[in-house]
C-alpha cells in the first residue's frame, strides 16, 4: 500500500522546508514542478501549506541575508512549536546548530531560543513581526496569482488555523 497523495505532498513540502532551514536555495519553480499539479484541485489546507512554502522560498530567494536568517530562525521556531505536548520533549537534548528539521519538532522553543541557534540574541520580536508581514504579503500575492481570489476572503470562515 502506498501513502496517500496528501501525505506524499506533505513529505515533498517538508523536504523543501528542511532545505530552507539549512539555507539551501530553493527555487519556487522547482516547488511548482513537484507539487503544484497536486494541489490545484485539492483542499484549502493543501493550498495554504503550498502557498506558505512557496512564499517562504520566494523570501529566501529575493530578500537580504538578514531577512533570510530571520526566516531560518522562524522555521526553527514554528516547527519547534508544532506537535508540542506539555511537559514533554523539553528535556530532549538536541543540537540545534545541526539544523535538522526532524529533531526540532515538538521542542516548544521560544523565539529567543530559536534565534540562539544562529548565534543571535534578539531584544524583542520586531524582526519576527517584520518577517510575518512580509510572508503574509507574499502569501496573499501568490494566492491571488495562483487561485485568482483574495487569500483573506478564501480563508474566511474556514477553520485552518489553531484555536
Amino acid at each position: 500500500m502506498m501513502m496517500d497523495l496528501d501525505s506524499q505532498c506533505r513529505e515533498a513540502r517538508l523536504a523543501f522546508w528542511a532545505g530552507l532551514l539549512r539555507g539551501v536555495p530553493v527555487d519556487p519553480l522547482e516547488i511548482d514542478r513537484e507539487i503544484l499539479p497536486l494541489v490545484v484541485d485539492s483542499s484549502q489546507r493543501e493550498r495554504i501549506a503550498y502557498i506558505l512554502l512557496r512564499a517562504a522560498a520566494a523570501i529566501a530567494q529575493n530578500e537580504t541575508a538578514v531577512t533570510v536568517r530571520t526566516l531560518r530562525i522562524a522555521i526553527i521556531y514554528w516547527f519547534s512549536n508544532t506537535s508540542v505536548s506539555p511537559g514533554k520533549d523539553r528535556e530532549r537534548e538536541v543540537d540545534l546548530s545541526a539544523l535538522r528539521l526532524r529533531d526540532i519538532i515538538g521542542l516548544g522553543l521560544t523565539w529567543r531560543e530559536a534565534a540562539l541557534a544562529f548565534g543571535v540574541n534578539p531584544r524583542d520580536y520586531s524582526a519576527y513581526q517584520r518577517l510575518l508581514r512580509k510572508l503574509r504579503t507574499e502569501c496573499a500575492k501568490q494566492w491571488k496569482a495562483l487561485f485568482g481570489e483574495e487569500m483573506e476572503q478564501a480563508l474566511e470562515g474556514i477553520n485552518v488555523g489553531r484555536e
Binding site: 522546508w17 532545505g19 489546507r45 514554528w78 506537535s83 535538522r100 488555523g161 489553531r162
Partner: protein, 282 residues
C-alpha cells in the same frame, strides 16, 4: 488591538495550523527502501537525500521506528565492541588509522548495500543481514582503532587486500561442529528476531570450529551472484559449485535462510544468493 495586529495574529495561527498539518503522520504503510535508512546511518546520503529522508521520517511513523531501532542497534554494537577492545597503547594510537577506517567503512557499506536490494520490503530478514554486515565491519573498524593490527584479513573479489586487523567477533556457540542445515536454520530463525548480528557470529563460530577460521576467510558480499537450484542439488553441492568448497554450506544458508523451512533444500528453480568469496584456507 489594531486591525493590522489582529490580521497578523490570525495569519500566524493559520501558519502554525498549516505546519501542524504538514507533520501529521501518514495513513497506512509505505514502500520505503530500508537501504536508504542504513545509508543515512552510514553517512552515505547527500544533503538533499537527507532532507528527503528527514521529511519521510516525519510523516511515516513506521520508518521512523525502524530508523530508531537501527540507530540503537548500531550504537549498542559500537559500545559493545568498544568495551571489548583493549585500551590502546600510545604507539598504536600514533599509527595512521584514517585510511584503514575508510576502507572498513566502505566495506561495511558495500556489504549492507548488497544484502539490501532496492525495493525489497522484507525488512526483518534484510535488517538481520544488514546488521550482521554492520557487525562484521565494526569488528574490523574498532580493532583497527584500538589494536592497530592483527590477523584478520578482508579481501576484495579481485584479490586486493582492503583491510587488516585483529578479528574480535566471538562465536556464540563455537563448540558446535555437528551442525545440520535444519539446526542451523532453526538457530538463525531464533536469532533473527532479536540481535540479528548473532546469526553471522554463529556461522563464523561454526566455521572456525570446523577448521575454517574467519581470520583467513573472506566473506565478500560486494560482488554477490546468484545460483539457480537444479535437480540433485544440496546445500553442500551448491557451496561446492559456487564457492569451490562444500564445507562452506553454512554461508549459503546464512544468506538464504528465508528461502527454506527447517533447513530443507529449496525446490528446483529457486534463486539463491551467493557471496563472492576470496581466499579461504583451512
Amino acid at each position: 488591538m489594531s486591525v493590522e495586529n489582529r490580521n497578523q495574529e490570525g495569519f500566524e495561527r493559520t501558519l502554525l495550523g498549516a505546519l501542524d498539518y504538514e507533520i501529521t503522520p501518514a495513513e497506512g504503510a509505505c514502500t520505503c527502501d530500508v537501504g536508504v535508512l542504513v545509508a543515512s546511518l552510514a553517512g552515505e546520503l547527500s544533503m538533499l537525500e537527507e532532507d528527503r529522508l528527514a521529511a519521510h521520517l516525519i510523516v511515516c511513523p513506521a520508518c521512523a521506528k525502524e530508523y530508531a531501532s537501527l540507530e540503537r542497534s548500531l550504537q549498542q554494537e559500537t559500545e559493545r565492541l568498544t568495551s571489548e577492545a583493549r585500551v590502546p597503547s600510545l604507539a598504536s594510537q600514533m599509527r595512521p588509522k584514517r585510511q584503514n577506517e575508510e576502507v572498513a567503512w566502505r566495506y561495511l557499506w558495500n556489504t549492507l548495500r548488497s544484502v539490501l536490494p532496492r525495493g525489497e520490503r522484507q525488512i526483518r530478514g534484510a535488517m538481520g543481514l544488514a546488521l550482521a554486515g554492520l557487525v562484521l565491519a565494526l569488528s574490523v573498524v574498532l580493532p583497527l582503532h584500538y589494536l592497530g593490527g592483527g590477523s584478520a584479513t578482508i579481501i576484495a573479489g579481485d584479490g586486493q587486500m582492503i583491510a587488516k586487523g585483529e578479528q574480535t567477533i566471538e562465536s556464540t556457540d563455537a563448540a558446535i561442529v555437528a551442525l545440520t542445515p535444519r539446526s542451523l536454520v532453526d538457530k538463525l530463525d531464533s536469532l533473527a528476531g532479536y540481535e540479528p548480528w548473532r546469526a553471522t557470529a554463529f556461522v563464523i563460530g561454526y566455521l572456525r570450529a570446523a577448521g575454517i577460521p574467519l581470520d583467513s576467510a573472506s566473506l565478500v558480499f560486494e560482488h554477490q551472484t546468484t545460483y539457480i537450484t537444479q535437480s540433485g542439488d544440496t546445500w553442500r553441492t551448491v557451496a561446492q559449485e559456487a564457492l569451490a568448497d562444500g564445507d562452506l554450506w553454512p554461508i549459503i544458508i546464512l544468506l538464504n535462510h528465508n528461502r527454506t523451512q527447517h533447513g530443507e533444500f529449496p525446490p528446483v528453480g529457486t534463486i539463491l544468493r551467493i557471496p563472492a568469496l576470496a581466499q579461504v584456507s583451512k
